[in-house]
Amino acid sequence: MIAFESVEFVYPSGVKALDGVSLRIGDGEVVALMGENGAGKTTLLKHLNGLLKPTNGRVLVDGVDTRKATVAQLARTVGLVFQNAEDMFFSSSVWEEVAFALRNFGYGERVVERRVDWALKFMELEKYSDASPFMLSGGEKKRLALAVILAWSPKVIALDEPTTGQDQLQKEKLLQMIKLLREQGRTVIISTHDVEFAAQLKPRVILMRRGRIVADGEADEIFLDEELLGSCNLLPPQIVSLTKRLGFLGIEPSLKHPREVADEIIDRLEGLSRKA
C-alpha cells in the first residue's frame, strides 16, 4: 500500500512541482497518472522509491516513511523505470546491465542467469545480450530498462512514459505485460499521455495539473469528460469522439472495443429500418 499525505515538493529552483497531493494506492492496483508535460507526474513517481523526499507531508510505502529509508531499501519494493532510460545504463553489455542489480541484491549466479535470460527474452532483447546498451535504438533502450526492473521482480512497478517511441506491437506487448503483472497481484503505476494506450488498459486514472490532482476515477468515466481532459492538455480517445457523434442513432458515448461499437451501430441501424 502506498500513501501520499499532503505531499508538497519544491525543487531547489523554487518550482513547486507537487502542491498538496494526497493519495492512496492499494496493492494490485493499476494506475495511470495523466496530464500535460510539467504537471508533476514524474516528480510524483520519483517519490515512490525515495529518489525525491517530500518538502512537506509524507509518503508511506508499505508503512515505511520514505524519509527514513534509503533508495536501495525502497528499490526492493518499488522498481522505477525512467523516461530517459539511456541515462541510467553503464554496463558494457545488455546482459550485464540486467545482471547488475540482481547481483547487488545478493542473488546467486544461477538465479541471476535464469532471471536475466527470462527478462531479456520477455522484452525481445536476447539477440542483443552481448551488445553495448548504447548501441540500442531508443525503443530498445526503453525495453532494456524495463527488463532490468522485471528481473528483480519488485512488488510495485512504476513506469515513466513507457509508450514514448514504441510502435504498436511493442505497445500491445507492454499492455500484455502490465495485465500479467496485474494478475500476479503487483501494483503498476504508469505516467503517460498516450490516451489510446490508457483507453486499452482501462486503469484507475489520476489526472494532474500544476502539481495537484484534479480528478481520480475509472478510465470509463474520466475519458468521457472532454472538458476535463482538455484542461489537462489531453484529448479524448478516438472511440469516445466517435460514439459521442453517434447520438442520433441512440448510441451512448463509451470506451467500448471497436467491435462492440460496430455491433451497436448495426443493431441500431437495423432497428431503425424495421421501424421504417
Binding site: G165, Q168, H193, L235
Partner: protein, 298 residues
C-alpha cells in the same frame, strides 16, 4: 497549387516535379552487421505529404538521414545507390547547400535549440549562410508567422513547453526555405493537445504553402486524413507505398507495428459483420465515419 489528399487515387501526383529521387539505396552503419536500408527506391513529388510508418528500428530514421545527406556525410558506413535532392546527389553536394533543400526536424527539439532567444535561434542558420540582414529579418518573420509563434520571439527557448520548442525548431528549418521538410517523430515527447497543434501546423504548411512533407510517426490518426501517401517500412525495405486508404485497406498493418485509427477499425468490423451498412472506402477520420452513417440513415 496542390492540396494534400488530392492524390488519393494514386498516392503521388502525376506530372509534378520530383523533389526527391532515391535509387537502389542500401546503407549499413559502421560496426553494424545488418543493413539498415536494403535496396530502397522511391520518388517524392513536389507537394507530396508522405507519412513514414513501421516498427521501431525498421529504417525510418536512417532513410530520413539519407534524404538530407547526414548519411553518408556525417554517419559513416557502407553506402550504395544514390539519393538526389532537387536533382543534386547528396554525396557530392556540400551540407550548407543541401540543408537549404531538405531540412530535418528531430524527435527531441532540445538537440536543435541553443540560442538566447527564439528569434536568434531561427536566425542563426541564416546568418551562417551569410544572407543580408534584411533577408534574414524577413525570413524569420515569415517562419514565425507560419508556425503561429510570433509572440514567442523574445522568449528563451529553454523556458518554452515541449510543443513550443518543437515549433521553434521547425521555424528555424523553414527559414532556410527548404524544398522538403523532413520530420522524425516530432510529436513523440509532446502531450496530446500540443501534438495536435503541431500536426495542424504541419498540415497547414502543406495545404497553404504547398511544402513537400515527409514525416515519420507512430500515431497516425491525426496525420492520415491529410496525407497523400503512406509509406510502410519493414526491416530496411519499403513494403507499402500508396495513398493511405489503399494501404489501410490492403494490408495487415499491425504486423508492421502500425495502429489503425479506431474509426477505421470500427469500420472494418462493420464490414466484416455485413448488413445494412458498408464502407466502400475505409474512413480515416471521425467526420468521414459519421457522414457515411448519416447517409445511410437519411
Amino acid at each position: 497549387m496542390r492540396r494534400a489528399g488530392e492524390g488519393a487515387s494514386g498516392g503521388s501526383r502525376l506530372g509534378a516535379e520530383a523533389v526527391i529521387k532515391v535509387d537502389n539505396l542500401s546503407f549499413r552503419y559502421l560496426g553494424s552487421e545488418d543493413y539498415a536500408l536494403k535496396d530502397v527506391s522511391l520518388e517524392v513529388k513536389r507537394g507530396d505529404f508522405v507519412v513514414l510508418a513501421g516498427r521501431s528500428g525498421c529504417g525510418k530514421t536512417t532513410l530520413l538521414r539519407c534524404l538530407n545527406g547526414l548519411i553518408p556525410n556525417f554517419y559513416e558506413g557502407d553506402f550504395s545507390g544514390r539519393v538526389l535532392v532537387c536533382g543534386m546527389d547528396t554525396r557530392e553536394t556540400p551540407p550548407h547547400i543541401l540543408s537549404q533543400k531538405a531540412g530535418l526536424v528531430f524527435q527531441n527539439p532540445d538537440n536543435q535549440l541553443f540560442a538566447l532567444s527564439v528569434e536568434a535561434d531561427v536566425a542563426f542558420p541564416l546568418e551562417n549562410l551569410g544572407l543580408p540582414r534584411e533577408v534574414i529579418l524577413e525570413r524569420v518573420e515569415w517562419a514565425l508567422k507560419l508556425l503561429g509563434i510570433e509572440d514567442l520571439r523574445d522568449r528563451s527557448p529553454f523556458e518554452l513547453s515541449g510543443g513550443q520548442k518543437q515549433k521553434v525548431a521547425i521555424a528555424s528549418i523553414l527559414a532556410m526555405k527548404p524544398d522538403v521538410l523532413l520530420l522524425d517523430e516530432p510529436t513523440s515527447s509532446l502531450d496530446p493537445a500540443s501534438a495536435k497543434s503541431l500536426i495542424d501546423s504541419i498540415v497547414e504548411l502543406n495545404l497553404r504553402e504547398g511544402l513537400t512533407i515527409i514525416i515519420s510517426e507512430h500515431r497516425l490518426e491525426l496525420l492520415l486524413p491529410h496525407a497523400s501517401r503512406l509509406m510502410v517500412m519493414d526491416r530496411g525495405r519499403i513494403v507499402y507505398d500508396s495513398d493511405p486508404r489503399s494501404v489501410l485497406e490492403g494490408g495487415d498493418l499491425l504486423a508492421y507495428g502500425i495502429a489503425l485509427p479506431k474509426v477505421s477499425e470500427v469500420a472494418r468490423y462493420v464490414n466484416l459483420r455485413g448488413g445494412c451498412l458498408r464502407f466502400e472506402k475505409i474512413p480515416l477520420s471521425v467526420d468521414e465515419f459519421v457522414e457515411r452513417v448519416r447517409g445511410v440513415v437519411e
